[in-house]
Symmetry: C2
Subunit: 147 residues, 2 copies
Amino acid sequence: MEAEERKTPARLLGEADGVPGEWLEPRYPIGQAAAFTDVPADTLRYYERKGIMTLAGRTPGGARRYSELDLEKIACAHWLREAGVPIDVIRQLTALRGQGPQTASGRRALLVAHRDELQRRRDRIEESIDAVEEKIAKYDRIVEARR
Amino acid sequence: MEAEERKTPARLLGEADGVPGEWLEPRYPIGQAAAFTDVPADTLRYYERKGIMTLAGRTPGGARRYSELDLEKIACAHWLREAGVPIDVIRQLTALRGQGPQTASGRRALLVAHRDELQRRRDRIEESIDAVEEKIAKYDRIVEARR
DNA sequence: GCTTGACTTAAAGTGAACTCCAAGTTCTAG
DNA sequence: CTAGAACTTGGAGTTCACTTTAAGTCAAGC
């Protein structure tokens, strides 16, 4: 057992290797994938159930093996989640991506809709910040008056 | 029955009336309070259970009656919720407010903490927007290339 | 007195996104 | 070959903030 877990597969480091298609090899068990992507294994299985990950390769025995491309897809899905995109929308994006390049404009539309939503969310937060600052200022005056 | 429900109690319109302390009168039943504040009656009871509303006045029969001050407190709590402040934090603020003015600096600290949290949240969203825009641009190039 | 509608309570249900568990199977190092 | 770590599955549990339900009480108009 190593002192420190290796956290990044070659592809993510940009170490292009000679064998073409090598990063499509289903190589990484779920625990490694979890460590690489920082997404818990349970969550990876959950994403799969929810249909936002097309199934990675399996060993004859049935254990999942992720390729480096799969890891990138996971990273992308997880990133979208962190950006607040609901699983449902990610599923739609994934489904469209699976249907080939003619769905590109549909996917673009989904992303534009989400960007607009994000902007609205940011604007609301901005307003909240302003209002909270005002309240803080009010407390400053109160605290000041009591000294 | 009126054609249009009256949505705002006098105090919120700024119609100061002659009788001092009048806006402390527990006057409005929960349905009215809900209409005024745009917070469903169920949610008002829920807030009360959660301890983020000190109990409003009651009729002899046990029905809640809200004063205009209560309505302002509701508006404040609801606004904090919309700003993403968890119920728990609102409860702390409410509790501190109930303990008098010497807790003002404590309340200020809670608000500052929340403002910082909001700023972090806004910054994350900002990053997400940038990233989504980048993805959109990528799709633009794809869609362009296919024409 | 009776109906209607607004109110009361405790408790259960909802939905999103995980997160954990039990019991069994597979993989891997020695 | 075997011990034990890592994996499999289906399903239950968790958290948050409500939301709904069931069963009953209260106040006003006819």
